[in-house]
Symmetry: C2
């Protein structure tokens, strides 16, 4: 932790969202640039957030019945070519190992951009009978995609993710699994990261290369642009046919397996910053914060010091016993104001201040990171912190979700006229979600994308059966779709 305060001010969010985003990540020490093009370093405070969310998501994934495994980093180049759409989608952005152990390799190896091919090669060795199904595996790993324009967390050459891969005996079971994982992601991201989402099917143009159907959960960032936060793909039998994953069914007939794959990545860290952050820094939901509460003891005279530190130690112990992730900032030689700013930048959800008068009154001051102004502060009776603080943390968790949901709803608009849609996307503020009738034809989607830069983020599930007029061509449109400019 640095002792000297960086003099350079954080760029205000309203002034330059992208600069603000980078400032926050660097200043809160979540990540740093690396000397390797497009690759970043996850610093301890950033990696701790990733560990917290990884552990919780891992628990939820395992509850669905999937188990973790680990497959090779390298994929023979020929594997990538076995599924036609898959190779088209990924070949342009791969990193290629051509030499190993001082010699040129006979067949170059691809650094995995995703693992469908190598995993399905193994599935073909393991799956022979309907008794071997369903096979549901997940892996946490690094993947590499050679992106031309990179951005901290959101788009990096190497990133960390989990990728689930499953094989099933029937189409219905695989389709159900695809939606189970979509709902797992939605619940996890909304409840744990306090990031509200819209969700639904992708348009054909936005599908995963090799999938029959892609489902997505998408958040709306603070600048009004959408961020894809997780995807779940129904692969049909495309990879099963390419890799010959076949099994004898209960009638002793040979069948191809039905498959899914699904993943979320370290870009979720970017979502946390862009949804919750403000000009003072990060605002971490208590569920993911490695420090949920920081206690700042305040004193001026040496004779006050011992009493204040003693009271701080008592509160620390009471909170620790109550299961709260808490620390005391005992640094000397820096002012309380410096400490307040420092922990606000790092996004700690609740600050507890203890001065000599608080000690005398048997109280502490609690300052919530999710609120601003006088309402953020309240007094707590010291002897009640073990009950009051966990309740406050729950409130903060809920309130961050409420604030973000309100912001998303305020920035989601229905449009009936193409000109109004276009004006909205051309105006300031990213544009938000546009809820429109779209006929489903690629040419209308392309027109919207080329003229407004908004893309189809999701076609919501379970729509009321209504038919409207496509916002572009006026032809009948059986469904509404959410469009937005996106990261």
């Amino acid at each position: 932790m640095a002792y000297k305060q960086d003099d350079k001010k954080v760029t205000p969010r309203s002034q330059d969202f992208a600069a603000w985003y980078n400032d926050i990540i660097l200043r809160a020490e979540l990540a740093d640039y690396s000397p390797v093009r497009g690759c970043i370093v996850f610093r301890p405070d950033g990696f701790a957030v990733w560990e917290a969310l990884r552990d919780e998501l891992d628990r939820r994934i395992k509850e669905t019945g999937a188990r973790n495994a680990y497959f090779p980093l390298f994929i023979p180049q020929s594997f990538l070519q076995k599924e036609a759409q898959h190779v088209q989608g990924f070949a342009p952005e791969v990193a290629v190992v051509t030499h190993g152990g001082g010699k040129e390799l006979e067949e170059p190896l691809i650094v995995r951009p995703t693992s469908e091919t190598i995993i399905n090669h193994m599935f073909a060795q393991w799956i022979h009978s309907h008794r071997d199904l369903p096979l549901m595996l997940n892996q946490w790993c690094n993947v590499v995609r050679w992106e031309m324009r990179t951005r901290l967390f959101l788009r990096t050459a190497e990133f960390l993710w989990q990728e689930g891969h499953t094989a099933h005996a029937t189409r219905e079971e695989a389709e159900r699994e695809t939606l189970t994982m979509l709902e797992t992601y939605r619940g996890f991201i909304e409840e744990f990261l306090a990031v509200p989402l819209i969700y639904g099917r992708k348009s054909a143009a936005e599908r995963f290369p090799g999938a029959e159907e892609t489902y997505t959960v998408e958040g709306l960032m603070g600048d009004g642009r959408a961020l894809q936060c997780g995807t779940s793909h129904f692969l049909g039998q495309n990879f099963a046919k390419a890799f010959e994953i076949r099994f004898l069914d209960e009638q002793n007939q040979m069948q191809f397996a039905w498959q899914t794959s699904w993943g979320v990545s370290t870009r979720l860290l970017g979502a946390l910053v862009m949804v919750h952050g403000d000009d003072q820094g990060l605002r971490l939901p208590p569920a993911v914060a490695s420090t949920q509460v920081v206690i700042v003891p305040i004193w001026r005279k040496p004779e006050e010091r011992e009493k204040v530190l003693h009271a701080a130690a008592n509160v620390f112990q009471a909170l620790k016993t109550a299961g709260v992730r808490v620390r005391v900032d005992e640094r000397e030689g820096v002012t309380p104001g410096f400490k307040f700013n420092d922990w606000e930048m790092r996004g700690v959800p609740l600050r507890i201040e203890i001065g000599p008068r608080d000690v005398a009154a048997g109280e502490v001051v609690a300052a919530r990171r999710d609120l601003a102004g006088p309402t953020a502060k309240s007094k707590l009776v010291s002897s009640t912190v073990a009950e009051r603080v966990p309740a406050l943390l729950n409130e903060i968790q809920k309130n961050l979700l409420t604030q973000a949901r309100d912001a998303m709803l305020a920035n989601t608009r229905q449009f009936d006229s193409y000109d109004a849609l276009r004006a909205q996307m051309e105006g300031e503020g990213g544009g938000g979600f546009a809820d429109i009738y779209w006929c489903g034809k690629a040419e209308c989607e392309t027109k919207i994308r080329e003229e407004t830069r908004a893309t189809c983020r999701a076609i919501p599930l379970d729509q009321k059966v209504e038919v409207g007029a496509c916002i572009v061509c006026g032809e009948p449109a059986p469904e509404r779709a959410l469009f937005a400019k996106a990261y």
Copy 2:
């Protein structure tokens, strides 16, 4: 889980240790070969063991004050060349990325064989003052070393590990950290994996490339060969000078930092197999077993079925509530004998059998995987399983360590004569540990290695101050050293 039993017998351990080792790993479904040269697949049962040991070691590492971070997979080729010994050690076995995004790279990228260079480049950005020290980071990641001869878990082109990297203000503090981590590894591997170890300094010839001193923990495998299980390196100022990691000390003088690095890898899974396994399969210590207890209900007549399954469900619930990782094997269409063999192969520490007579008597049969013959089985009163089973699991954990320690001690011998050492290493059974006086000269070490294939595994710490005669040259030797043939 496969229903059909593989007809092929496991190669007996005494007949061909290497074939037995591979048979067990494949049959217990810990791992599988992959289509990528030298890379393996960690199957769910193997990866679950890795997750259990990773989580426990991660907890212990964090207790020492280190924090997790994540650095890029790729290292610019020029970085590897900055520390002279380091590049010599690793350059011959690296995998090289020459193309990315369809273009040839200006500077080839090395897939990390270890991360000293990239991490120390970042340390130089972050460390300026003594207040920034100590900096203690750890990362869990994959690394790649292009090995010519590979072996499941022990030597693979890609493997998983943790690597800790620390920087300190003084030599003494860095030396202390090196030994703290050695002791962390020793405690973890002995207590958690039940693998007994010898430990000490490496000889100069066996040091990590770039280290001033390497410390090691080594186990003795079932075939009498040693396996390096973890290393902790005192790097001195070698990397600090190569990467210019400097700080202002309390006297405002510029100093180079003092550093350490330390790691253990997925080869620990190999140690578990080779130390504890037998001809029936794996024997997992309860601490790492994802299934600690399997309940096998046994019945013949349909009217017995319900009662037995009901009793099994009660025992399951009681054990689950007691925090035991337990499952019931309710598979139909396979015999109890098949199930016994299957779970013995997978190394489950305790089996509970429940038949109609046991139900009538209010008892269950407990069969320990760590014992053989009639002593392995005992009757437990059903109502006491929640207390008795955790106690039994503790006993099994301890007994596996005791058995392994007895085997290691029985296979550790002092030698005064070079001929006797040579005869031992040339005889059957791997040779075990040879405890000898060695003068410390490289030529004597080389002679031993070339003529007996035994290498210096460790020079134990805290030896009694005695001087003996070098077993090779007869010159005064200030210390004893442990030599063995090694993996």
